[in-house]
Each structure stands twice: as structure tokens, then as C-alpha cells.
Symmetry: C2
């Protein structure tokens, strides 16, 4: 099998499940994560370490992590908003911590009740903790509202890049850019990731794009064209900031994988098994809407995945 060209980082079990009202039972979460792993996903954000009274959907975070780390070859990631969360995630045995840091001053205060500077300080404390408790664990900063903000509108590009650099200086291994509210366009994506790579080199992180205005895949394509190789996406488009039926937030993993595989860019993922992983998601969240154009339309007649030639040829 060809070595994958890009890394698709599945965020559904965290970003997706956190955004829906229902709580998926733990056993269903584990079955879903198993199915994602079986499809070839190599990185999954499996949980968020936040107080259960704030997010009951994530009360079983430690248990989910303890299962996920048994799956061979999988990088198990968890979102942590603060030192306390990082401590719990490290204790559970995650491979990688991801920390959201808002580029929008207004969004930062509204979302975590901290200024951007205070979040960088918090990140520094998490990096210190990681060095002490889990020196082999990864730590990424996700710069949210990097392409605009529903509260303040425009987010100056200089501020986005400066904040990403500050996060790496504070101890993050990498900093990625998130289009939290679906404002990004391909020209802006190319501009910002080009600047990010110029500043951070290999420490420039993932593209986390939303499909709120239909531009999710075009923005991923633009990011790929300027060298981004890691892309966040959510199975069935679960999560993000849905505004209306069909107008989901997160880029749909199935459609993103289809785009890359059709282009001959290997993801390492078996798209038929990926589509099959919608079943355990739906079983665990009965009645919840899932999206995805490729699953609905089906694969093109005669479609062959270069990365899985023997399976479906």
C-alpha cells in the first residue's frame, strides 16, 4: 500500500458529539471509533476534557481514551481548554493534546472568558505540564476564528500569524488554523497558510475548515496547494456550527477523502469502509441528521482507490 500523502484527522467523536444535544452511550462511541480506525483513520480527536457538568456528552472522556489507545497505529487526540483538562487527559494516556486559542479578541473572551494573552499563558503552563508528565505527548494549538469571527467580523491576518507564533514559542509543537465560523475563502486560505509556513516551517499545523457557506472542500484544496498536509474533518459533517439543515459546520470526512482519493492524493483511508462507519455513528445517535454528498450520491461507476487497489478492484 502506498504511503499516504495527507493526514485526515477525524474530529467527529469530540467536535461532533460535543455539538449535538444527545449523549452517545460509551459503548457506541467505542464501536464508532473502532470503525473509523478500521477504515484507516490514523488520527482521531476522541474526547474533550472539560467538567462533566458543562459537557455531559464528554463525561466518559477518560474511558474513551483508554480504549482508543489500544488501537494499533492510531494517534489519540483530546481537546483540552486548560491545565486541569490537560492533567486529566495526560493521566488517561492520550497521545496528543489540542488546545483552542482564539485569534478574535471578542471570541476569546466569549468562549473561554480569557484574553488571547491569558490563553497563551495557559498554553505555556500546559506545555510545562506536558514536559513533566508526558514528554512524548504531542501538543498542538488550534487558532480558532483565524479567518473571521461572527462577533467582531474581520480578524487581522497579522494578529492570527502573531498568535500562532506565540503559541509555538509558548511550547506548542505546532499551530494550525481553524475557520470556526465558515468565513474563509480559498485566496485567504492560501495567503494565511503560506505566511504560517514561512513563520513556522514544519510547525505549521492542520487546516480545520468548515463548510458553512459551501466552501469547505475548495478551502481544503487551496490549503493543500500551499503545502498543508493535515486536514480536520468530521464523519457525516457532525458538529461545527450548523446554521440550517444541510448547512453543517465541519467539512464532511467522506467528501474530503473522496476529493483527495479521486485526485490521486492518498489518504490511507478505505472510502467504502469510511462510509460504512456512518452506521455505528447513526446507531449511537438515533434521529440525528448526518450529511455527506458522496455517501448520498454513491461512488462513481468504476471508481478505484489507488491506495486500496486489491480490496475493491
Amino acid at each position: 500500500m502506498k504511503t499516504p500523502d495527507v493526514l485526515i484527522s477525524e474530529v467527529g467523536p469530540r467536535d461532533g458529539l460535543q455539538s449535538v444535544a444527545a449523549t452517545m452511550p460509551t459503548a457506541d462511541k467505542l464501536r464508532w471509533i473502532d470503525a473509523l480506525h478500521a477504515a484507516g483513520l490514523r488520527e482521531i480527536e476522541v474526547a474533550s476534557f472539560v467538567p462533566a457538568r458543562l459537557l455531559p456528552q464528554m463525561a466518559d472522556a477518560a474511558e474513551v481514551v483508554r480504549h482508543a489507545v489500544t488501537l494499533p497505529g492510531l494517534t489519540v487526540m483530546a481537546l483540552v481548554p486548560n491545565v486541569r483538562g490537560a492533567e486529566a487527559a495526560l493521566a488517561a494516556g492520550v497521545h496528543k493534546l489540542t488546545v483552542p486559542v482564539s485569534a478574535s479578541a471578542a471570541h476569546s473572551l466569549a468562549n473561554v472568558r480569557k484574553t488571547r494573552e491569558q490563553m497563551v499563558d495557559e498554553l505555556r503552563a500546559m506545555a510545562d505540564l506536558r514536559r513533566e508528565l508526558g514528554p512524548g505527548v504531542g501538543l498542538e494549538a488550534g487558532i480558532s476564528t483565524a479567518f473571521g469571527c461572527t462577533l467582531q467580523g474581520l480578524v487581522p491576518e497579522d494578529e492570527v500569524i502573531r498568535l500562532a507564533v506565540q503559541c509555538v514559542e509558548a511550547g506548542a509543537d505546532e499551530a494550525g488554523l481553524s475557520d470556526t465560523v465558515g468565513y474563509a475563502n480559498p485566496a485567504q486560505v492560501r495567503r494565511l497558510f503560506t505566511r504560517l509556513r514561512a513563520e513556522l516551517g514544519d510547525r505549521a499545523g492542520a487546516a480545520h475548515m468548515h463548510n458553512t457557506r459551501g466552501l469547505g472542500l475548495a478551502n481544503c484544496l487551496a490549503a493543500y496547494e500551499v503545502g498543508v498536509l493535515t486536514f480536520d474533518a468530521s464523519l457525516g459533517g457532525l458538529g461545527g456550527c450548523p446554521y440550517a439543515p444541510g448547512a453543517s459546520g465541519n467539512v464532511v470526512t467522506e467528501d474530503l477523502v473522496f476529493m483527495f482519493e479521486a485526485m490521486g492524493v492518498a489518504t490511507g483511508i478505505d472510502i467504502r469502509k469510511l462510509i460504512a462507519a456512518r452506521a455505528p455513528l447513526q446507531a449511537g445517535l438515533p434521529g440525528e441528521a448526518v450529511y455527506g454528498m458522496t455517501p448520498e450520491a454513491g461512488l462513481p461507476k468504476g471508481f478505484v482507490q489507488p491506495s486500496h487497489p486489491n480490496v475493491h478492484a
Copy 2:
């Protein structure tokens, strides 16, 4: 106002209305076309000249054309599958004829009961007729199933390019490429349009992309990157080959215009007026589903169109 950088060719009144079961009353069609024109659309495919017993939705084609040609600055286009249709369209006063020619041998026989060679002969006869009856009228060939076919699967790229060249040799002013069934991917789009331009230069025509598998805008972006400047799209995503709710065929005009305008690529279209043009469409087709992520999510806070700075600043 800045000169537009790209031409968005609206196909809803033909491609869209032809695909739905209901027939939009003529007065509603005219109101819808007026609203599209008022939003800044400069080219609209307003009708199909085919026997009314086959397509009752298009029985008023001549009347629609006669109204549309009174709108200043508008190029009025009609689809014609054969010489008889071309004759009627020329008599009605269209500015431009568009002729679908299938690159898939199987699709050509199934769709028009002609081989590809017979369609090129038909096109040659239409070009002769145009020279005689309307020397100022445009004639474009739309190479359908250019990126794959639900009947035969793969369509060899050499055959697509050869057919496009044959169409221009037969008398078409330009030949564009259509992803009739939504199989295209950005790498393929770049490859085929690059070859088309190498063969035909300025006679390389429009990109007609579908969003069946969610890649519509990414494919338009890829086409733009290799020099394509004319894009077909349909208001509300009406028409194309819908497979499932939300999985519409045609690229949604509103989302395409949003992408380009957000990138700073001027379309000449006022996106707020474009979104307002959904009202007459919906009034004329009560109960019909219309799509579009940008209309559902709304424009970003503080969004300004460089091409219409005085209107909404």
C-alpha cells in the same frame, strides 16, 4: 465599478426548470429572469428549444426569449439539440445557441439517440444555418459527460479533447466541458481544461460543474486556476441530476458568486440582489426545494463586495 474578472452563466431557467416536474408559468419565468438580470447576471440560458410534447416546461421558449432580449446588456442563450431547435431559437432572436455533445458514446446514444459523430454532423448543420440566418449569433458546444459517465464509467480524456476540437472544426465558436454526472475532481479538471486551452486557445469554453459529490466549488476553483473564466451555475442549485435531498446537481450560483467575490475575483453580480432573486424562483415553483449554503448561513459579518462598494458599505 470594476470590470468583472469572470462570467457567471446562469442556467437555472433552462437546466433547472427542465429538471423539475412542475411547469413554471411564463409570467413567473419573466419575473425571475428580470431579477437575475437586475442582480448583474450578464448571460442566462433562458430556454430549451425542443418539442413541447417532450418538455412541456419549455413550451413557452420563444416567448421567454423575446422578453429576455429586451434586457440591456444580457446575452440570451438557448439550448438546442438539433437543427430544428436551432431554427426556432434563431427565429425567436437568441444571442447564443448552446449544443450538448456527449463525450461518452453510451450517453450520446441514450440521451439523443445519435452517435458522437452524428452529433458533430448535426452541429455542423447548425453552424451552417447560423451563418445563413444569424451570423451574429454565438454557437457553443457543451461537451457533456466530459469527466465520466454513469453508463460507461471512465471517459477517455483523449476522446473528450478530440471531440471538443471536432466541434470547433465543425463551426462552433467555443467548446466547454460539462461534468454532467458529478464525477469530476480538481486534478482532472485542471488536466482537461489545460489540454482544452492548449488545443483551442480562446475557443476553450465554460466549465459546467456539478455538486453531486460536494466538489462543485473546488472544481470551479481548479478550473479558474488554469485560466477558465466562464462558469455555469444554477440559482438555488435547481436542476442537474439530483440524487438525494441536498445533493443537487448544478453548482449553486449564490455559493459560487460568494466564493469568487470573497476571493476578490469580481463577478459583476450583487450577491444580495442575487439572493433576493430566489424569491421569484420560489414564487413560480411553490414547494420546490432550493439549495444554497450561503443563502442559508447568511453573508459574513461586515462582508463587503469590492465590485459593489457603494451599495452596501
